[in-house]
Symmetry: C2
Subunit: 345 residues, 2 copies
DNA sequence: GTTAGCACTCATCCGCTTTGAGTGCTAATG
DNA sequence: CATTAGCACTCAAAGCGGATGAGTGCTAAC
């Protein structure tokens, strides 16, 4: 069952050959380019074994072998050796991320751009989750007699805004100001989750029933924080995918772009990856994500030094230069985590 | 030079035939389906004239004729008759736009969705221009010792935020509050352009030199309002374009999607269209917009009842159901203009 | 001015063969 | 027993050639 030295090196040769050429790899090619001398026939025997074990397959009888998803999985798990980034690459990433005048969303979009440019694939960035973010500031701006705009700024500096619609009369400007003041003082640094609990709890306290201002403040904040705003993901450089023959087939292309447009699947994947530390690699249809058939996703989470904020990643064809992309994702994630920590000092 | 009755009706038949079939139209087809009886040979003579005048062309010797850009231009300018929307369609548009709990950006994204869904092409929405928007509210939130977040809310309810970075020390929380108060009172309802002038003017006044708070307020607002934030456009349903054989050619497809990704061209076009009232139609490469070869853009501006805010549109292949899309764009623009007016009451 | 007739063009389709890369199997070899 | 040489076989891709048919331009007759 286990693969011996030679099988491994042949599997590696098939995968790396196919990654860089895009073509099926035949026995002759490998026999020629291999350090230990072997005849093509020998290689064929090994290949037959690898096929039996599900690591490679051939598109048709007289073609060479290409890796299966299982093959890629095995490759990235056991024999992938990542290169270090060159100083030039590092500087490149840094200089592009270093525009300090951007607010968080614009900054993260920039990060997506960098990932896409450095990898020549597609960069993705999961925006920090609303419910996990910490309270920094809230503000109410009246828009119309029955509508006001609530602006919420998180600890990290992400800005969310939300329309609040009155069923009965809305508080006047003064009252809004007082409510905001109260909330800004008492909720500072808490997560949305905590805030939800506190609000529910306070509303039950008897004395609150008689304090109109407090009541208003609680009502308003409840409207802001109760509903879950949906997670969002930034996708940059999707068109890079058009350059790879893997998506020349219009059906494959459509499927991929629809998946990008829907975002939902991608959010799920990135959300999953957030839970784990270090670089994660998801491979193609394997992860029961049909729409990303033929693709791989390399992700790493980013933090503010303490808490996980979100995750970033690169999507490319399964036939992807893992050894180059992994360090890009890894380094970028570390870099922005560091930047977001300094941001708060 | 001028086209007589019959030439016109044949040109119309060619264009409408090609719009619905996507194929070149031959003389026999037209001779058969035409009310006045004509032989194919007669039609051929007319077609030859039309070709000479540049309204149609044939992809190769033994194919029928397809419209040129000039042909489309002529068609939409002189003989396009738009249908009215069915009540069902109207209700459809209305119900989808009618989610009042959305803030402006989310609302406009929804509008883009509606345009794309109703037309089966791609919906685009130009976000209201920063410099033309009117001041409603400003707020400063300290982020770090050398950085603060300025949040600006326009009359229409769009929210912009911007990082302000201190070269020297920043004002403390109290001073920020006072600066915000001052600005909120004195700038209400002005356009950014006006505000820029006022700031420049006030800074020259001598008495200001000695009022530290006022000075601070002016400095801060200058930083917020001086630089032009770039215009932005929402693009929804780009993948719809993949369904049309016009973009089956990977080169054409890549060009189109790159144009979408860059946004710049699109912004220019929508910006231009903003100046004119009513529905505008831009056709393909004609408008010296190379990257939108083979595409047409139908736009209409939207207002808040008084001022133009931005414009919306639909991009599709030149071979597009103009008669159906024009009223969709028109109606949607009117609808959201009405909604944005009511929003402010 | 209109039309019928005819020669001509050219993309598309279909069937055919050739080519070559690559395989699996078997038998010989060290 | 693992390795290898040899050979028959498979199959996608490319090239070729004829048939098909949609459509044209031109000319001569109505």
């Amino acid at each position: 069952m286990g693969l011996n030295e030679r099988s491994l090196s042949i599997l590696e040769a098939i995968i790396e050959g196919h990654i860089s050429s895009g073509e099926p790899i035949g026995s002759r090619t490998i026999a020629k380019c291999h350090k230990e001398k072997m005849s093509p026939a020998t290689v064929r025997n090994v290949m037959a074994d690898l096929e039996e074990q599900g690591y490679v397959t051939s598109p048709h009888t007289s073609a060479g072998r290409i890796p299966t998803d299982k093959g890629y999985r095995f490759y990235v798990d056991t024999m992938l050796q990542v290169r270090d980034l060159s100083p030039l690459q590092r500087r490149n990433i840094e200089s592009h991320c270093n525009d300090v005048d951007l607010h968080v969303e614009a900054f993260l979009r920039r990060v997506g751009n960098v990932l896409s440019d450095m990898s020549c694939y597609t960069g993705v960035v999961l925006i920090p989750r609303f419910s996990a973010s910490r309270f920094r500031h809230i503000e109410f701006v009246p828009l119309a007699h029955d509508r006001l705009l609530a602006i919420f700024v998180s600890e990290t500096g992400t800005v969310q805004n939300k329309i609040i619609r009155a069923t009965v009369g809305l508080p006047d400007a003064d009252e809004l100001q007082q409510a905001a003041n109260y909330l800004n003082q008492s909720l500072h640094g808490m997560t949305i989750r905590q805030i939800r609990n506190i609000i529910a709890q306070k509303k039950r306290e008897e004395r609150v029933q008689y304090d109109r201002l407090l009541q208003q403040a609680l009502d308003l904040s409840e409207m802001v924080f109760s509903s879950e705003t949906e997670a969002d993901v930034i996708i940059e450089g999707a068109t890079n995918m058009l350059d790879y023959p893997d998506f020349a087939d219009p059906v494959a292309m459509k499927r991929l772009f629809r998946a990008f447009e829907q975002k939902k699947l991608l959010i799920e994947l990135l959300d999953m990856s957030q839970a784990e530390s270090g670089v994660q690699i998801y491979i193609g249809g394997q992860t029961h994500f049909q729409d990303f058939q033929g693709c791989s996703l390399i992700t790493a989470r980013y933090t503010n030094g303490e808490e996980t904020l979100g995750s970033i990643g690169v999507i490319g064809p399964s036939r992807m230069f893992y050894s180059q992309v992994v360090p890009v994702v890894d380094y970028t994630a570390r870099l922005i985590s560091r930047m977001l920590r300094h941001e708060l000092e």
